[in-house]
Symmetry: C2
Subunit: 425 residues, 2 copies
């Protein structure tokens, strides 16, 4: 047994599949968002980030930064323990109240990441309910798939956003069996939205619990940033709403909200929650400041939608293959993994524009893409620069332009396996 | 199917087993460590925390607080993405270099928690190595047990710190089979230390990989805070050293260090790493400041050992049943779950001293205990107060005093299951 050789072969395999990741070394600049310093080959230069999940630039908001600094100054840099053993800090308690209020739920529970929140919550609920059947959208995120897998429950995958398919599975299971429907509101790679009302109708009809992932929607949709469920007046019809503090809210961590019982059950039974150090007070305080700001300020949401719409229009007018998207996410089709990687490298190296390539298995083969996320701070001038850089890159590499209208591509199940490295993430 | 009722019954079960957790609402006070504000029943009062895992009080260190504040001011409150998609911030790159240097390894990899680092690293390595056999100490932490389980690999549990038992298992597996030995340096509930040299000898003899969890040792042992492996000059003989940034280093997150290949393999294959937002620059900068300080300053380690020794002596002199411990951890035997909870409640309510009860299944039944962690900031005066409070509590509740010498209790495997809620954590 030669351990070194086996590990090297595993890495060689990732290289061979052209999916080896090199992380860009970035230093964001408060006050100059979305600009950042990029370090490579001993040099440092300023570039524009076009693929950040700090969707509203709240990580740079003066109130949010001040909340973090003040909490660190008053309470220190860490929590000092798990929630149960001396780590349950007051700002975290306040944050959970804020989140419950945001979604109109009885209670909230914060985790150190969105990944852990999905994994811990879904696996715990699926395990606590006797003979539970989990119905999972085929495009669900890796963290949800892990949660389903770890629940030990039987799983049925329904075709993406296909309520007829979902209904046939619910019908086959019957009203009496415990059922949990897990899905997302905004699917982050395509930017499309789930038929939440229809899924809620089905859940009611067949007596199923519902679990929605709103990580790409909280802060950005709904009058107070409660996500698509708030915008569509459906929050009260979904049992568990999961979200993140690490995207539009600009900090770190994930959470769930729901009835007191469901939150208490996850809190009491999930090892990934129980045995983990609590989020520091500084992170909790910053997240609360961000949520509170976005509960009353519509300016960021409006500006984001305006700049996203403008970006789509400008790129489409230039003939670039902008894929259909109902949200702030702007995917641009490349359709080939090598070209996608080359386009990303050229944009960064030649144009100082940073957009990660999105390849299989995060998206189906043949639909490799660049995924652009305009924020309120991506000005019209930056959008014009982006268009020029993309056109130059498309021409230089011979990537196909759009043929007619918006570009539609087939969606199919992303395969997520521990042994198949992911291109996303 | 009545979902609400099933969830309520699950919670009732935790209540019935007297293991329902109520999290104390605490606000730590920079400059007054280990004092904190405790909120309960509409009141707020100042108490002394005696069970913090901020073992050296570094979460309050001026350099560490300043590093967090400065990074937040310069780079914002969040990372804005996963490591691969725009979240790989410069302070995090520096932190990984610092950690590799701390343990004399080629590379390091940071996770959002120690739980995730164990789970992701052990499960990934165990899965990548063909037909791997994992040999796991029976007292390993829940996060390691989860990692072993999720690897899908065959597991053999060896009796706690029993090298003869471990050898018999290694021998049975043979030199050719892939084998991973996973163990801790300091076991946090008993405070005892693994026979690392003997385990390294066996690993060499039988050609096994070794994985050590040093979360309760990093920062506190070794000339530069590299843990027990550094203190005993054994770091180079262990393949993977795992640690935390959330205990002695006073911030948040976990990490592994090892050869470039093993780190690259985990980095490339672990979904729990790939699909998670990176730690914010402010956390990374604070952690680096803390590690750097403890690499050159011996004062905190000396003071911690001095105060821990003094605490053991003072409590033992008072006849309290202090359990044997080779480290800074001071367990005090209660031996009954109800009494343990009552003692904890009385200490907090009557004496303003906060120590969580540690009950089954975190520790075997009949060995329920209070687990005290003296820091450099627990002065002789605070130790005297602790002694008086414990004696009053022991008398009031009729808890048995020590009979002779140090108190020894049997150690047995802690059962960790998703459906058996843990008392620890």
């Amino acid at each position: 047994m030669n351990y070194q050789r086996f590990l090297e072969e595993a890495i060689d395999q990732v290289h061979a599949e052209r999916r080896y990741r090199v992380f860009a070394d970035l230093e964001r600049i408060v006050g100059k968002f979305p600009r950042a310093i990029w370090r490579a080959n001993g040099k440092a230069e300023e570039i524009t980030v076009w693929c950040s999940n700090d969707y509203l630039g709240m990580g740079q908001h003066p109130d949010v930064v001040a909340a973090m600094q003040q909490a660190a100054g008053n309470m220190g840099t860490g929590a000092g323990g798990t929630r149960n053993i001396s780590g349950n800090n007051h700002p975290l308690v306040e944050l959970e109240h804020e989140l419950a209020d945001l979604h109109g739920k009885e209670a909230g529970l914060v985790f150190t990441s969105g990944f852990v929140s999905n994994e811990a919550a879904i696996s715990t609920i699926g395990r606590l309910l006797p003979n539970c059947l989990i119905l999972s959208d085929e495009l669900n995120h890796a963290s949800m798939i892990e949660g389903v897998r770890r629940s030990g429950a039987e799983k049925k995958v329904f075709r993406h956003n296909d309520v007829a398919h979902l209904e046939s599975l619910l019908q086959a299971a019957g009203r009496e069996r415990a059922k949990l429907i897990v899905f997302e509101s905004v699917y982050s790679m395509d930017g499309d939205i789930a038929p939440i009302a229809e899924i809620a109708d089905l859940a009611e009809k067949y007596n199923a619990m519902t679990y929605i992932d709103e990580v790409h929607a909280v802060g950005m949709y709904g009058g107070r940033g409660g996500g698509i469920t708030e915008r569509e007046g459906l929050a009260h019809r979904i049992d568990i709403i999961e979200g993140t503090l690490a995207k539009a809210f600009g900090t770190l961590g994930g959470y769930i909200t729901g009835t007191r019982s469901v939150i208490d059950a996850v809190r009491s039974y999930a090892p990934g929650f129980i045995f983990t150090t609590a989020l520091p007070p500084s992170i909790a305080a910053a997240a609360t400041a961000s949520i509170r700001h976005l509960k009353t300020s519509q300016a960021e949401r409006d500006a984001q939608q305006r700049q996203a719409t403008h970006t789509k229009q400008v790129l489409a007018d230039a003939g670039l293959p902008v894929m259909e998207s109902a949200t702030h996410i702007v995917p641009i089709l490349v359709g080939d993994p090598e070209l996608c990687k080359m386009a990303s490298d050229r944009l960064l190296g030649v144009h100082g524009i940073y957009i990660q390539p999105i390849n299989y298995p995060t998206v189906p083969r043949g639909t490799e893409r660049l995924r652009v996320t305009p924020t309120p701070f991506h000005s019209d001038a930056l959008i014009a620069e982006l268009k020029a850089a993309l056109v130059e890159t498309w021409n230089a590499l011979g990537i196909p332009y759009r043929t007619e209208g918006h570009t539609e591509v087939p969606k199919s199940e992303r395969i997520v396996s521990l042994l198949v490295p992911q291109s996303g993430g």
